[in-house]
Amino acid sequence: MKNIVLIAWCLCGMFLNKEAFAQKSKTEKVTFKVSGNCTQCKERIELACDQKGIKMAEWNIDTKVMTVVYNPAKVSLEKIHEYIAAVGHDTELKKAEDKVYKELPGCCLFRENPNTHHD
């Protein structure tokens, strides 16, 4: 029983101290708009940001707002926009190439059909 109390105590301590953990990193948080339609788009956009130096990337389907937490020493903001544009999605700074855009599945063609979904 002693063990259990000890473990519980350690675990509690671990997440009560989360603020301390978070403060250490040298990251920056930015938000910008990215065009897209559906959950498939979300998956694609977030996967594109699965890159070195990017800690967290989340795209909101409703607001189209992209939230990225990254380490500027390892990756530039411009590069992040490039990563997203490279998979076919337009960002505030970078437009995707038509060639890549046209390859997207029908439901994701945000330039022609903004914000539709098919179930």
Partner: protein, 748 residues
């Protein structure tokens, strides 16, 4: 893709020739918390690509001029998900119902975790989906729990290869196993039944500890495990899986699904497996795994009229035959009246038919009526040396459920009637010959009321009353409470009662692989179950789930404590005498305490960590003393690491540390044939690598028991199987050493 709840109803058609130019008339409605349909005023409706919208009036009605070449209509309303509807016949009046962007939808847009704990349910349900099941590539249900710390899986004996699960430190029979909420593995199938559900067929497993809902019956004491198979509507058209292991185990699974019309869909599940290598890694003269085959087929169909009526039916057949024992054993040796070679056989056949009918009342989505029917036949023809067992069980089950709300969806209730029949015939030829014949008919009624206060509080009060033809009236009350002080934290408490008839022979079949004499000491003298009253227990549980974000990564922590108290139990005593298996009614205390802590966290992107510790204290008053129940490890540590690369390589490592287990007393045996009081502790490590190619194909290779730990002396007095001291039921660790396997999954 999930349906988002957009229902387009055609109410009636009318030509609107009177309006020029052609106009489309429609209504925009929502279904509110009471399930009623209400108009939405002020919604914007426009043709895709055009900007001029029509606005709905106070009755939700809109008129929009028809534009040539435009057929996608966009509907936008505050607080609702914007939707686009394809209008094919521009003369019809349509009613559109658009649903709120609800909580569930929000979950879908996140990356789905492989194991989820529902935060909304009043009971804590851990959902293991396919992604989780893939971590343990092999093979049937019993192996699916390798990555779940709540469920312990242990061998029944050293020869038949069958495994049993434990929850809260209680044996498998105390967990209610259902398949799609219908009675699954129960009765005489408990011991081997986990082998009858191939892992590839499973879509998800729901595991919950403690008492379940009264709607699903009175039997669950330690928990419920519900298995959902692939649905014909969502399954891939063709799903093929092949598996082969170094141990000579080969498996093939095929799932075919088809949806010929919008209303009708069906699927066929096939499985064949074989063990054909006579392996004896530990050189004890006995096969490590039995040899044999299994064929298993299931057909299911789904018919949905789209007007509220749904029919779901399935039919399953299983034939499983396995031979084990000494390495040179052949089935024909069993016919010798004086046996020289020890062998075991488990020959099982199962036929199951299930039917579910549901009707959703139009205009009120909370009112529905459901009928569940199930019929099952299970037979066994087993032998273990001189011990022979023939068993057959025919069961039927019917459950009628009506659910509705009182006023609004904060007050929900379910009421219903159920009937369960079991006809069992069992012949046990031990030193004494036993013949048991038993007919059970249980009819009952149940009611369950759920009160919800916002999202923070839920209370479920359930009770059921059943009449058993042998044991009379039985009353079962249950209470579940859920309180979420924060969106990320949930506290749940449960209390309740359960009862069941013990199936003593099948639940203790492992002990037939010994030279123990079976003795039943009935407490009451009726034609009841082996002379015993039903087992009865109370269970109390408390658990906490907390989700957190640390360093931008999601994590969760779960703590739970459960206490189970038996007020009536049939005690299986192996301590009294090492040459006897004695059954008697509990006279005194029998309870189980269980504690578990589990931490899930993603320290790096695509890298998941699960860490758990669980503690059991299970004690029973035996005839001689109050003792801890044998073969249960007090402590267990668990670690699972999973890493996925961007290129879809998956790496999984699972590690378990199992503590000491008390072994049955053998102190009266000759010195060299005595066991220690406790088993050794051991580590078990499994690893697997999976590579996915596109979405169609994945190939996996893995190693079980990497550090090659094998239980020493798995069989007591193995050289003399027909002597007094032979016993293969003292199994506490792996029999098989390091074993590698290879498999593939193909989805089209």
């Amino acid at each position: 893709m999930r349906r988002f709840g957009i229902i387009v109803w055609v109410l009636f058609c009318c030509m609107n020739a009177w309006s020029q130019p052609a106009t489309l008339k429609g209504v925009v409605v929502e279904s509110n918390a009471k399930g009623e349909i209400e108009p939405i005023a002020g919604a914007l409706v426009y043709w895709l690509g055009q900007t001029k919208p029509a606005v709905t009036d106070s009755l939700g009605v809109f008129y929009i001029p028809i534009v040539p070449n435009k057929n996608s209509l966009v509907v936008q309303a505050m607080g609702f998900k914007t939707d686009t509807i394809l209008v094919n016949n521009k003369n019809t009046l349509r009613v559109m119902m658009i649903s709120k962007r609800n909580f569930e939808d929000a979950i879908v847009s996140y990356e789905r975790k492989s194991t989820e704990v529902s935060f909304i349910d009043p009971w804590k349900v851990t959902i293991m989906n396919e992604k989780e099941l893939f971590k343990a590539a092999c093979c049937n249900l019993s192996e699916s729990f390798e990555t779940n710390p709540s469920v312990d899986v242990a061998f029944n004996d050293a020869l038949t290869g069958s495994k049993q699960i434990q929850m809260l430190g209680l044996a498998g029979q105390y967990t209610q196993m259902s398949i799609e909420q219908l009675p699954g593995i129960r009765g005489i199938a408990t011991h081997y039944g986990l082998n009858y559900i191939p892992g590839t067929w499973i879509n998800a497993i729901q595991v919950s500890k403690g008492m379940g809902s009264v709607v699903n019956g009175f039997e669950s004491i330690s928990g419920q495990i519900n298995i959902e198979l692939h649905k014909p509507t969502t399954a891939e058209k063709i799903y093929f899986n092949a598996y082969g292991s170094q141990g000579g185990r080969y498996e093939a699974n095929l799932v075919l699904a088809q949806q010929p019309t919008k209303r009708f869909s069906h699927a066929l599940f096939l499985h064949a497996s074989t063990y054909n290598l006579r392996m004896d890694q530990n050189k004890d003269g006995y096969l490590d795994n039995p040899i044999g085959e299994q064929v298993n087929a299931l057909y299911r169909l789904l018919y949905d009229t789209k007007t509220g009526f749904v029919l779901n039916a399935s039919l399953q057949y299983v034939k499983d035959k396995k031979l084990g024992g000494q390495t040179n054993f052949e089935e024909r040796f069993q016919r010798d009246s004086v046996k020289n070679v020890y062998g075991t056989m488990v020959d099982a056949e199962r036929l199951n038919a299930a039917l579910k009918l549901g009707y959703l009342f139009a205009g009120n989505k909370f009112r529905s009526i459901g009928l569940q029917l199930n019929a099952n036949q299970q037979t066994f023809h087993n032998f273990f040396g001189y011990n022979t067992y023939h068993g057959s069980q025919k069961s039927t089950y019917a459950n009628l459920i009506f659910q509705d709300i009182i006023g609004n969806s904060n007050h929900k209730y379910r009421v219903g009637l159920s009937n369960q029949t079991d006809h069992l015939t069992e012949h046990l030829l031990n030193q004494t010959h036993y013949h048991f014949n038993r007919n059970e008919i249980v009819s009952g009624a149940f009611a369950e009321y759920t009160y919800t206060y916002l999202t923070s509080f839920t209370a479920v009060l359930g009770s059921r009353i059943d009449y058993h033809n042998l044991f009379g009236w039985q009353y079962v009350p249950r209470l579940h409470l859920r309180y979420a002080p924060l969106a990320s934290t949930v506290i749940r408490a449960s209390a309740g009662k359960a009862w069941r008839t013990a199936n003593l022979i099948s639940e203790n079949m492992g002990s037939l692989i010994s030279n123990r004499t079976w003795i039943f000491r009935p407490a009451i003298n009726t034609a009841s179950a082996y002379g015993f009253a039903p087992e009865e227990a109370y269970n109390f549980g408390l658990n906490l789930s907390h989700e957190f974000k640390l360093n931008y990564r999601n994590g969760s922590i779960g703590l739970d404590y459960y206490y189970t108290l038996f007020t009536n139990q049939v005690v299986a005593d192996r301590d009294l005498n090492a040459q006897q298996m004695v059954f008697y009614a509990l006279n005194g205390q029998s309870d189980s305490r269980s504690f578990q802590v589990q931490l899930d966290y993603q320290p790096l992107r695509r890298f998941d960590l699960r860490f758990a510790y669980r503690w059991y204290d299970v004690i029973t008053q035996y005839e001689q003393a109050l003792r801890s129940v044998p073969m249960i490890a007090k402590h267990r540590w668990f670690l699972n690491l999973a890493y996925t690369t961007k290129t879809k390589w998956n790496f999984d490592i699972t590690s378990n540390w199992t503590g000491q287990k008390r072994l049955p007393i053998t102190s009266a045996n000759p010195t060299e044939l005595r066991l220690n009081d406790y088993s050794n502790t051991f580590w078990l490590w499994n690893a697997q690598v999976t590579k996915s190619f596109k979405k169609y194909l994945s190939v996996y290779v893995g190693v079980e028991n990497i550090f090659n730990f094998q239980q020493p002396n798995a069989i007591l007095d193995g050289p003399n199987p027909f002597g007094n001291y032979f016993d293969a039921s003292f199994i506490w660790g792996p029999i098989f050493g390091r074993m590698s396997y290879l498999g593939l999954r193909l989805k089209i």
